[in-house]
């Protein structure tokens, strides 16, 4: 059996009014402090390289996307959100995606595609906002997924730093 030993209240505490005044002075002091809530649409969420937002495709500096449509991310995806149709290209890599779709309503932002990708072609961006009027509008095609490499550079550097732990020291 648990016996709670309660402290005997002092006279001032039992009179209640002094404690009321103490409480009032506390709330009055807090009255003048700055609000800590964020006014969301005007003040967006702070993000950094650790933020695992929606996956985006890297567009290299020469204007081509890095993806070679190997299908690794498609297999790694636990939510079956990624659909890739490969095709031939005249570039030396020989293959590139004709269709690359991510169903953002299925995507769970786990980052497995980013881990699976052998060509540094897909990375988790810091974009978190997801809203549309139709379900079809939230199935993002290649044009919607493309981001220049510079926009994703912080995340790419971060992933390299993480992966360096597993590389053998020279």
């Amino acid at each position: 059996m648990v016996v709670v030993q309660r402290k005997e209240l002092t006279l001032a505490e039992r009179l209640y009014l002094p404690e009321v005044l103490r409480g009032l002075s506390l709330t009055f002091r807090k009255f003048f402090e700055k609000p800590i809530t964020r006014q969301y649409p005007e003040e967006p969420l702070p993000t950094d390289e650790v933020t695992r937002g929606q996956p985006r495709l890297v567009v290299k500096d020469d204007g081509n996307i890095a993806c070679v449509s190997c299908g690794m991310c498609e297999i790694a995806c636990p939510a079956y959100a990624i659909t890739i149709d490969g095709g031939e290209t005249d570039r030396t890599i020989e293959r590139e995606p004709k269709k690359f779709e991510i169903d953002m309503l299925r995507c769970i932002l786990c980052g497995f595609c980013e881990e699976a990708c052998p060509k540094d072609a897909i990375f988790m961006s810091n974009e978190l906002e997801l809203a549309d009027y139709t379900r079809a509008g939230l199935v993002y095609d290649m044009e919607k997924l493309k981001r220049p490499k510079s926009a994703l550079q912080r995340r790419i550097d971060y992933i390299y730093k993480l992966n360096n732990r597993w590389r053998s020291k020279p």
Binding site: G23, L26, K30, P35
Partner: protein
């Protein structure tokens, strides 16, 4: 303003003007209080509060009003329809009517003094208490007519609490009546102005002021005594089943009652419209002083609400019957004896 004489203006015009200003001011204050409640609570909790409708959210009460008017109204099955519809009006109307006797000050137009209150009756305090007692019918009838257990419990609690604290309220008002020797609120204000000493600064007056403030919180069903609407236990108390504008009317009544209580506190203990250390202050400063004092008490209502947790019902009853009432009784007896002995000769 040459040749203007206030006697030339028909009395009816003066009445209508006064009623329009004072009643409009009361309802406007009640609407602003619904905004102030949310704003102050937000600032005390590091939040912003409503700030989307108009500058600083000032138009929020208007938006709320429009929303309430256009919402669907539900009347529960098995409810007594007549009483169910009557109750919100009974909650709101007495609270609004009591403002009529509060002396807000005087208006001077072309050297002619017009008392700025709707009615100057010599039984002002009796009138206020009688109508204030009526306002509990709104809660009881609303709770009973809803045919819901939570509403009924809320209504019962409201009535028990009102009866318990009305005694303390009246006894502490009687202290002021004994000190001023009148039931007329104008005379009470004048007595304080002439003595240059507000009732709150006299020893008996201060005790009565503390008791009156506590009882006024209970009378208006405000925290920490809001047992009639006690959300965690009773869902919403007596207004659980109400929706749309009838629900809003209960709140209008509550805020009007708070405003009147704040005005009454100002009148009884803080000299009403008298300006401190300046008995000959111009009339508009008097009205300003009244508004500032009443505004402070309105702020106090909100301030206490967002500071103190709710009592338990037995604690409420113990505080009312075993603490507040005996102190108020003894205080009144001592004041009575003191007044009787000091005014023996006259």
């Amino acid at each position: 303003m040459d040749g203007f004489n206030i006697k030339d203006v028909p009395e009816v015009v003066l009445w209508i003007a006064k009623i329009a200003i004072i009643f409009g001011g009361l309802v406007g204050t009640a609407a602003l209080m619904s905004l102030a409640e949310r704003k102050v609570s937000a600032w005390m909790q590091y939040r912003h509060g409503p700030n989307r409708v108009g500058p600083f959210g000032l138009l929020q009460p208007l938006a709320d009003g429009i929303k309430f008017i256009f919402k669907e109204e539900l009347i529960p099955e098995g409810a007594n329809k007549f009483l169910f519809r009557l109750a919100p009006a009974l909650a709101a109307i007495p609270a609004m009517m009591t403002i009529a006797v509060i002396p807000i000050g005087t208006v001077v137009i072309a050297d002619q003094v017009i008392p700025f209150s709707i009615a100057q009756i010599d039984l002002g305090i009796m009138y206020m208490l009688a109508l204030g007692g009526l306002s509990v019918y709104g809660a009881i009838l609303g709770g009973w007519a809803s045919n819901s257990k939570y509403s009924l419990l809320g209504g019962l609690r409201a009535s028990a609490q009102m009866i318990s604290y009305e005694l303390t309220l009246i006894l502490s008002i009687l202290v002021v009546v004994a000190l001023s020797g009148s039931l007329d609120l104008n005379t009470i204000v004048d007595a304080q102005r002439e003595a240059g000493l507000w009732n709150v600064f006299t020893p008996f007056g201060f005790l009565a002021f503390v008791l009156f403030t506590i009882a006024s919180f209970a009378e208006t069903n405000r925290h920490p005594f809001d047992f009639a609407e006690c959300e965690p236990e009773l869902v919403g108390g007596f207004h659980t089943e109400y929706s749309a504008m009838r629900f809003a009317l209960f709140f209008l009544g509550e805020y009007c009652a708070m405003t009147v209580m704040a005005c009454l506190n100002t009148t009884l203990f803080f000299g009403g419209p008298s300006v401190p250390f300046w008995p000959e202050a111009p009339w508009f400063l008097g009205i300003l002083a009244f508004l500032v004092k009443a505004g402070f008490f309105l702020f106090l209502f909100i301030w206490v609400r967002w500071t103190l947790p709710r009592f338990r019902f037995d604690q409420l009853m113990r505080l009312g019957w075993k603490v507040a009432l005996p102190i108020a009784l003894v205080n009144l007896l001592v004041v009575g004896a003191w007044v009787a002995f000091t005014t023996k000769g006259s």
